[in-house]
């Protein structure tokens, strides 16, 4: 099993969700996060005061999938989240040692 964490532009969330749904991903966790990479922040001006805002709002999607689904899922995310402009985000993939569905106590691939 692998965990896929994707940081994407907030307005792309619906497209990414639909694309993942199409390749058979049934669940995910979404959070509103802030951060910056190469895109950096922006400047806000309020009358005489100027503020540099380093952290931009992003969406983080987390999903855990069986090993065979990883490349399908990442391809779906890349296709749906890409605008070609700086700030499109990143995908991180990591190993997951165990998954348990609390209701049925199923384990491993059955639980994700």
């Amino acid at each position: 099993m692998k965990k896929i964490e994707a940081i994407i532009k907030p307005f792309k969330l619906e497209e990414v969700k639909d694309a993942l749904h199409e390749v058979g991903i049934e669940g995910m966790t979404v959070s509103e996060v802030k951060g910056f990479g190469r895109q950096k922040g922006h400047t806000e001006i309020y009358r005489g005061s100027e503020y540099t805002v380093d952290f931009l709002p992003k969406i983080k999607i987390e999903l855990v999938v069986s090993d065979v689904k990883v490349s399908e899922a990442t391809t779906a995310i890349i296709k749906s989240a890409k605008t070609g402009k700086i700030g499109d985000g990143k995908i991180f993939i990591s190993e997951v040692t165990e998954a348990i569905r609390i209701r049925t106590e199923e384990k491993g691939d059955l639980a994700v």
Binding site: E44, I45, Y46, R47, G48, S49, Y51, V53
Partner: protein
């Protein structure tokens, strides 16, 4: 001439023994006076048939009083509240409510009397209307022939409430609640009551329109000097004595909700119709004119300010629209019932430009921490407005500037308006307002600082005044 003997009502029956019945002509003249908002013809002793307040004028003044209160609660509370960080939102609301209650108490005790009872040219009698004694539904003909004096007193009280509330914009996020209340009590007594009496009191030093003996023949329709200059200049002095917010120019102090700020701005604008058009003291032609000029100046300035931002900085901001609207309203305030539509248009343009420059360039240059730009908008706008009033005031718009107004004829205001020279008088009023506001604030601020201290602890300021001072949070996530 028909002598009327028909008596209605027991009160008049009792009076009929000694009082002469008014003639039909006199009774008709009373009605005409009511419609024209002139002085009634029958004196009280003649037992005129129209003895009480005029219903239309009273209705408008009660509406106006409510509108002016609406400017503070919640208009100003939201306008200012939206501009502070979220940890200080409730402190601004608490300060607005606290001031509303506190000033009401002062006003009832002796404030109304100090401003609107006769006394000296500098301050009214402290006792004549103390506890609003004798302030009944009958009009006080010194001010408004057809408006109940109790309505008039409440209307003027709303001005007394919003004026110190404007000051909290400059000292937001870093002044103890107790220090603000103490400051406001002293400031009302030392600065506001004398200044309001000088400008609007029946024997006031600078009441050019309604005091035949006024030494300074200045005019201020709805409070450019009394409200905006006094609060704005005092705000500058207080914020300098108080010191900057912790982390000023180092950490992000951006407004926490421009949405609430914009809602508050809309409420201020709506409420300002009561402030300016209500300052006619009647639902008459002068009020109608003030209603129009208020709209024009506010709308023009609300567009000019963000357009200048657009040109100089690339984007028109919502805070620019809001600031422009308020600056336009501030600047038209002293002029509202005295100037034409065209003059209001010009005032609107100036209001969109000069306060913007003060906020965007003067403040960073001089490095004072006027947190929400009370000085940049109200002091700069009010001062320029008071001077422009002297330039644009027209007797075509307001007949009270004509010789027909016995007071203006007696003190020579009519000639000043006709021949020029009013501007010099306006400068004198501006000068007195400046000196009283600045000196008064310096003295009061140091007294409060010495006795109870002005600032909360660094820990409280960092935590936010909402939790530290009021034990509440504005938002729960």
């Amino acid at each position: 001439m028909l002598a009327l003997t028909a008596i209605t009502g027991t009160a008049q029956q009792a009076a009929a023994v000694t009082l002469k019945e008014p003639t039909v002509e006199e009774r008709l003249a009373d009605l005409e006076a009511y419609v024209n908002n002139g002085a009634r013809v029958t004196t009280d002793k003649q037992a005129g048939k129209v003895t009480g307040p005029g219903p239309g004028h009273n209705a408008w003044m009660m509406t106006s009083a409510a509108l002016v209160l609406f400017m503070t609660l919640p208009g100003l509370a939201l306008f200012y509240g939206g501009l502070v960080r979220r940890k200080n939102m409730l402190s601004v609301i608490a300060q607005c409510f606290g001031i509303a209650g506190l000033v009401t108490i002062l006003w009832v005790l002796f404030g109304y009397s100090a401003v609107f009872a006769g006394g000296s040219p500098y301050l009214g009698s402290l006792s004549k209307f103390a506890f609003l004694k004798d302030v009944t539904s009958a009009p006080n003909t010194d001010y408004a022939a057809w408006v109940s004096q109790n309505v008039y007193a409440m209307y003027q009280m709303m001005f007394a409430i919003i004026t110190p509330a404007l000051i909290i914009g400059a000292v937001a996020e870093r002044m103890k609640f107790s220090a603000i209340l103490a400051f406001v009590v002293l400031w009302m007594v030392v600065v506001y009551f004398p200044l309001a009496h000088m400008i609007w009191g029946v024997d006031g030093l600078m009441n050019g329109v309604w005091n035949g003996d006024a030494k300074i023949r200045a005019i201020d329709f709805a409070g450019g000097t009394v409200v905006h200059m006094s609060s704005g200049w005092s705000a500058l002095i207080l914020c300098i004595i108080l010191g900057k917010r912790k982390g000023h120019e180092k950490i992000n102090m951006a407004p926490h909700s421009m949405t609430l700020c914009a809602i508050g701005t809309g409420m201020l604008w709506v409420g300002w119709y009561g402030f300016n058009a209500g300052s006619a003291g009647a639902a008459d032609g002068v009020a109608a004119s003030a209603f129009m000029t208020t709209t024009i100046a506010a709308a023009v300035a609300s567009l000019v300010w963000p357009v200048i931002e657009w040109i100089l900085r690339g984007k028109p901001s919502v805070l620019g629209f809001c600031s422009g609207a308020v600056a336009g309203l501030v600047m038209i305030t002293p002029a509202a019932g005295f100037v034409s539509a065209k003059s209001a248009f010009i005032i609107g343009i100036i209001a969109g430009v000069v306060p913007y420059l003060a906020c965007a360039y003067l403040k960073p240059l001089l490095k004072y921490d006027d947190a929400l730009d009370t000085f940049g908008v109200h002091a700069v706008g009010g001062t320029i407005g008071a001077i422009l009033t002297g330039i644009f005031a027209s007797s075509d718009v307001n007949p009270n500037l004509l010789t027909a107004n016995a007071y203006a004829a007696k003190n020579g205001l009519d000639k000043l308006v006709a021949n020029g020279g009013l501007v010099a008088e306006q400068f004198k009023a501006v000068g007195i307002t400046l000196v009283l506001s600045i000196v008064g604030t310096v003295v009061i601020a140091f007294i409060v600082k010495a006795v109870i201290g002005l600032r909360p602890s660094e820990e409280a300021e960092t935590q936010g005044l909402d939790l530290a001072e009021h034990g509440e949070e504005a938002y729960h996530s």
